[in-house]
Symmetry: C2
Subunit: 214 residues, 2 copies
């Protein structure tokens, strides 16, 4: 496949293509035109062609896209064709909610364990995934070849924990704490800042009200 620099905006859109193509594939459709995909996804057909052209063009003029091929190729680009071992740090409601997402596994994200400091949780399981205590963290990360840690601790503890995780060899942090983590260059961070997402909503509510009351 051609290797070019792909814009961040395109990458952000790929998981959505992947989701739609997965659903289309499941429904038994084998080929789809950019205009059909366009009407399902509510994105212009030209945007779809442009986006998918970034990857050397999966479509054939007049034949549409081969759904399975496109799904698998986008899967490879996103890295979901490989297994990524993961732990959840923080066994509270959010950590347990993440442990219950079966969809993650379908995409190669395998949750190997949950870690917490609360001895009450020791040995308990969420959907068969055991809750461990922090003293086992180092060994577990190495033995289970953990790449990703989902961090669901409060802000005050998240920074300290990040240092530990990095020292023990975690390569990527999926951060739910409301803080920008400081990590070495070779460690990746993806933030899910819920408060910020909620503020996008209040911004839009406010703007909408202004426009309609003026």
């Amino acid at each position: 496949m051609e290797e070019r620099e792909i814009s961040k905006a395109v990458i952000k859109r790929l998981p959505r293509y992947y989701r739609y193509l997965g659903e289309i594939l499941e429904s038994g459709v084998e080929r789809i035109s950019s205009s059909e995909l366009s009407s399902r996804m509510k994105v212009t057909a030209s945007q779809i062609r442009q986006d998918l052209n970034n990857f050397g063009g999966f479509g054939q003029q007049g034949y549409g896209y081969n759904v399975k091929y496109l799904y698998e190729e986008i899967g490879k680009i996103l890295g979901v064709d490989k297994q990524h071992n993961m732990i959840i740090v923080g066994g509270g409601n959010l950590g347990q909610a993440l442990a219950n997402y079966v969809a993650f596994e379908k995409n190669g994200f395998v949750i190997k364990g949950i870690f917490d400091v609360n001895p009450v949780l020791k040995g308990l399981s969420v959907r068969g995934i055991q809750i461990h205590m922090l003293e086992d963290l180092r060994e577990f990360i190495q033995k289970e070849a953990i790449q990703i840690a989902a961090l669901t601790l409060p802000k005050s503890k998240a920074e300290e924990m990040t240092e530990l995780l990095v020292r023990y060899g975690v390569k990527a942090i999926w951060n739910f704490a409301h803080v920008d983590l400081q990590v070495p260059e070779d460690v990746l961070v993806e933030n899910v800042h819920l408060s910020e997402s909620l503020m996008q909503l209040s911004y839009n509510i406010t703007r909408y009200e202004k426009e309609h009351l003026e």
Copy 2:
């Protein structure tokens, strides 16, 4: 204040300014230069000046920004200076995790109730927020002037519930289900698609490995 069309990218960055300014304010700092703010936020000073200029320029050359004023003005733009009443639909782990976020209230998002269909949860509370059954949904939305519904149901139930919520007068949906909701033009949706966020991480892991193994 000047009213101009502000780009989506700037709006996306505002909550982060708001968070940093809130922390700076709490630490007792009254004025801050764009270069100081720049080094804290790891954004270029020129980006900061450009972003904040969108709002008519809060800074004075040579004096820096008045932290409290800037914090409050950005708060107004984001609409977090007003109260937004909210319900959580889905009383599972994720719904309970959201109910436990005290930070939302600090920004004006007041969670008035949690709704579920599971009779086992009826009458229980999370951080003093009561869990109600669906039959009370319509009346509750109207009586409590609910603007926002956080939707933490599985995909299969999210679409049906959205119809109900819209019919009962909810103006904005904070959607955690892995589906694009269809809503009328005057209803706002903000998505938190966790699987897609995780795929950004696997994309970056994959790219990083490629670059360093080749």
